[in-house]
């Protein structure tokens, strides 16, 4: 996105990213989430700062502030606040944030890749699937075992999230695009495995709720 645009209203060059520095009219929003928040492209994000920035940008951009302004500014305000809200939703969640960065960097983050079982978990996954099948057929005796597996996988998720946090810091510390891409590739792997386990836990939960209902 060209940041050095002319103001749509008064034509001032290098108008500024939110308001024109000359006539103060609202400009077309930038679509990149990090740029929008005026933050560097880093995977670790200061959540308190993000929230503060969200509130202050909301106050500047929300359509409620543009009721009595020109049609063009109303449109930009609607567009800008929808990007602001979407960006805040994505950036405050570490997983969505990482997926966003991967997507912007051109990585394919489709669901397909999470169909493969992580090799080190083959045995546990196999056992869990067996237990699930038995429960579906009405065998309640597997319940304690199922509960235990569920806890185990939840622990793995917690562990993974801690690992992700480290990978984020590693990414942010790299100099140069190549080095960063290499870390992003690792992160993508972690995310795929994480999604696999998450789906598994969801399936257990769904079955247990259906059974209790």
């Amino acid at each position: 996105m060209d940041n050095h645009h002319n103001c749509w209203h008064c034509g001032t060059p290098d108008a500024g990213s939110i308001f024109c520095r000359y006539c103060n009219s609202l400009q077309a929003p930038v679509p990149n989430y990090f740029e929008f928040f005026g933050m560097p492209l880093k995977l670790s994000v200061d959540l308190a700062r993000l929230q503060k920035q969200f509130y202050s940008l909301s106050g500047l951009l929300h359509p409620d502030r543009y009721t009595r302004r020109s049609e063009q500014e109303k449109r930009y305000s609607l567009e800008a606040s929808s990007i602001l809200n979407d960006a805040y939703r994505v950036l405050r969640d570490p997983i969505q944030r990482a997926e966003y960065v991967l997507k912007e960097a051109g990585f394919d983050i489709g669901e397909q890749r999470s169909k493969d079982v992580p090799p080190e978990l083959l045995e546990e996954v196999f056992e869990l699937n067996m237990a699930l099948d038995e429960l579906r057929m009405g065998d309640d005796e597997v319940l304690p075992q199922l509960d235990e597996s569920r806890k185990k996988f939840l622990d793995i998720l917690v562990e993974m999230d801690a690992g992700l946090e480290q990978q984020f810091q590693k990414h942010d510390a790299q100099e140069g695009d190549e080095a960063r891409r290499a870390v992003l590739a690792e992160i993508r792997l972690t995310l795929n495995r994480r999604r696999y386990i998450k789906n598994l836990v969801n399936e257990v939960d769904k079955l247990l709720t259906a059974r209790n209902a």
């Binding site: 929300h62 359509p63 409620d64 609607l78 929808s82 805040y88």
Partner: protein
């Protein structure tokens, strides 16, 4: 109640009013220097019952005047029309069994109510209520009112919101914002001034239930989660009591009255009164008179609570879900605000205290708090209030139909609005020139379990092999919670045309036609009102002159002066029954001029009498 920092430097610009368009009652409010105020009617009443009746002369009667017609003209009188907004006949089959009015044929996409020989859609009926509120505001403020904020249940879907906006347009109001009722209530309480914190707003009205959880921070009201049921409210309680009463009557009198509109409305009135009394006393009687026969039944609060317990319990599930969605435990809720007439019921209050472990706020009148909040929001939009901002959410997830009748979610519920999502579509057949997109709202996975919102037809795609076209579609939910769709051809970068076919509701053309029709009617209404007002003025001066002619002062006038008064009096009486308000006003002025001397004489007589210390 808090004070408001208001910037009235631009006071002369157009005023925006706040309207609570309720299932049972509606109100209009505005913001002045002291804060938000509900605008009373000429009789001093704050509430306009949301009742609309079509009179024999084809004019509408609205509010209190229509209330009696619920009984006398039940087939031409509509109430609780909010329950029908944005819905099709199949949606409301169950509840319209209890309604005395008829649903006409062809109501699949928009309900058409048969009144007299004509048909009206719910937005047209609501527009009558809005017009009444508009006139009330205009009479009180002494200026034309054309812009409004209107509140809707937080859990209203896209079609219900659109229908509300349509109603505003038909009534001649530009609806600048639809605000969710619980959020509006939190604005009225001004809880942000006290401290930052988390607030739950529990809103049980006549026909709808909402729960919203908000975080307040330096004047920002951020909704974290909302939930509810658009078909749960005081009406359900009334129907429960009504059914019991009708059963009683059937066994006592041996007569089934459930098909007599007049009887049902009479008994409904009686059970509502009993319900309201039970909020303040432990025992009361349902007391109804119908065609000279009396029905009476004692009811204790204890029995009442047994009867309604499951209705109250139905509100708790959405409350728990909202807390889960907000990621909060009940302990995290600092304050609870109660909204809607049904929160006067002690059982409701105790259920809410137990659930949230906090004593609910009930300081503001639960019937008025939403309208007051709408007025605050109106002042935010006008720029008069600058230290507050509402960040609301969409109550329902938005998705599109994919293969196998499955819904793929694009915007999740409780996303802050405005919110958007983009999706790239392609063609599946060589040379295909349009793509149909089916948009739905709801939380379930299958299309059949979600609410169809609209079908969008992307047209004019250049013919090319299957899978080559790349059309980027942007779904945008605005600050009113209403969806719009735009599309762009990624290969050419040009805007793509999108044809919208809403699944429920009126098309733009239909609304336009209704605006034109209602405008013509509004002109008549306006003229009729002018005549009425002119006659009231004429009555005042006629009776004053009558009195004066019998006084001593009359005799002090010369013959010519007396003749002039008589002439002007005569002339006014001649035009009094005519339909030209200008002419009536003109003759009033003439009479006023002719009686000036008479008035002075009377004044002098009065002064002389006062000086003498005697009474005249």
């Amino acid at each position: 109640m808090s004070t408001f920092q208001i910037d009235f430097s631009n006071i002369n610009k157009k005023r925006i009013v706040g309207i609570d368009l309720g299932t049972t009652n509606s109100l209009v409010a505005f913001m002045d220097l002291t804060g938000p105020q509900v605008i009373p009617g000429a009789d001093g009443s704050m509430l306009v019952p949301s009742i609309v009746s079509l009179a024999d002369d084809e004019t509408f009667v609205v509010g209190d005047a229509a209330r009696q017609l619920l009984i006398d003209r039940s087939d031409r009188t509509v109430y609780s029309v909010k329950r029908l907004m944005g819905r099709g006949a199949a949606d409301v089959e169950e509840e319209t069994k209890l309604f005395p009015f008829r649903i006409a044929e062809g109501s699949e996409q928009v309900i058409r109510l048969a009144l007299g020989g004509r048909q009206f859609t719910p937005p047209e009926i609501s527009a009558q209520v809005l017009r009444e509120l508009k006139q009330r505001a205009e009479a009180y403020l002494g200026e034309e009112v054309t812009q409004a904020v209107i509140t809707v249940p937080a859990y209203f879907n896209d079609a219900q919101r659109q229908a509300t906006k349509d109603a505003g347009r038909i009534a001649g109001l530009e609806v600048l914002r639809l605000v969710n009722e619980p959020t509006a209530a939190s604005l009225a309480y001004g809880l942000d001034k006290r401290n930052d914190g988390v607030v739950a707003v529990y809103d049980l009205g006549g026909g709808t239930f909402d729960i919203s959880i908000l975080r307040l921070h330096e004047g920002i009201f951020e909704v974290l989660a909302t939930n509810g049921d658009t078909h749960l409210g005081g009406d359900d309680i009334d129907n429960r009591l009504l059914a019991i009463a009708l059963e009683d009557i059937a066994s006592e009198w041996g007569e089934d009255l459930s098909h007599s509109g007049e009887a049902v409305q009479t008994i409904r009135r009686a059970v509502i009164e009993a319900k309201e009394r039970l909020s303040f006393q432990p025992v009361t009687a349902i007391d109804a008179d119908f065609k000279g026969r009396k029905y009476q039944r004692e009811i204790t609060r204890e029995l009442f609570e047994q009867i309604i317990k499951d209705i109250v319990d139905r509100t708790l599930g959405p409350c728990r879900q909202a807390m889960r969605d907000a990621g909060l435990e009940p302990e995290a809720i600092d304050e609870v605000v109660m909204v809607g007439g049904s929160t006067r019921i002690p059982l409701v209050r105790s259920a809410v205290s137990t659930l949230f472990r906090a004593k609910p706020h009930t300081e503001l009148n639960p019937d008025e708090v939403v309208a007051l909040g709408a007025a605050v929001q109106a002042a935010i939009l006008s720029g008069d209030v600058q230290d507050k901002l509402l960040l609301d959410v969409t109550p329902l997830s938005l998705g599109i139909e994919t293969m196998g009748g499955v819904v793929s979610k694009l915007i999740h519920r409780n996303s802050t609005i405005p919110a958007s999502a983009t999706e790239v579509f392609t063609t599946s057949v060589d040379g295909q020139q349009n793509v149909l997109i089916h948009v739905l709202q709801g939380e379930r996975e299958l299309v059949k379990d979600c609410r169809s919102l609209a079908r969008f037809d992307l047209k004019g795609i250049d013919p090319m092999p299957a899978g080559m076209a790349r059309i980027e579609v942007r779904f945008l939910i605005d600050a009113n919670g209403i969806l719009s769709v735009s599309a762009r051809d990624l290969r050419s970068g040009t805007e793509q045309s999108v044809e919208v076919k809403p699944s429920y509701g009126l098309t733009d053309e239909q609304v336009e036609a209704m605006i034109v029709e209602s405008y013509e009617k509004a002109e008549e209404d306006f003229a009729a009102r002018q005549v009425r007002e002119a006659r009231v003025e004429a009555d005042t001066i006629l009776s004053a002159v009558d009195k004066a002619r019998a006084s001593e002062a009359w005799l002090d006038l010369t013959d010519e002066e007396r003749a002039a008064v008589d002439l002007a009096l005569n002339e006014l009486q001649m035009v009094y029954h005519g339909e030209d308000h200008n002419l009536i006003r003109n003759r009033i002025e003439n009479l006023d001029g002719a009686t000036r001397k008479l008035a002075e004489n009377m004044m002098n007589t009065a002064v002389r009498a006062a000086l003498k210390g005697t009474k005249i």
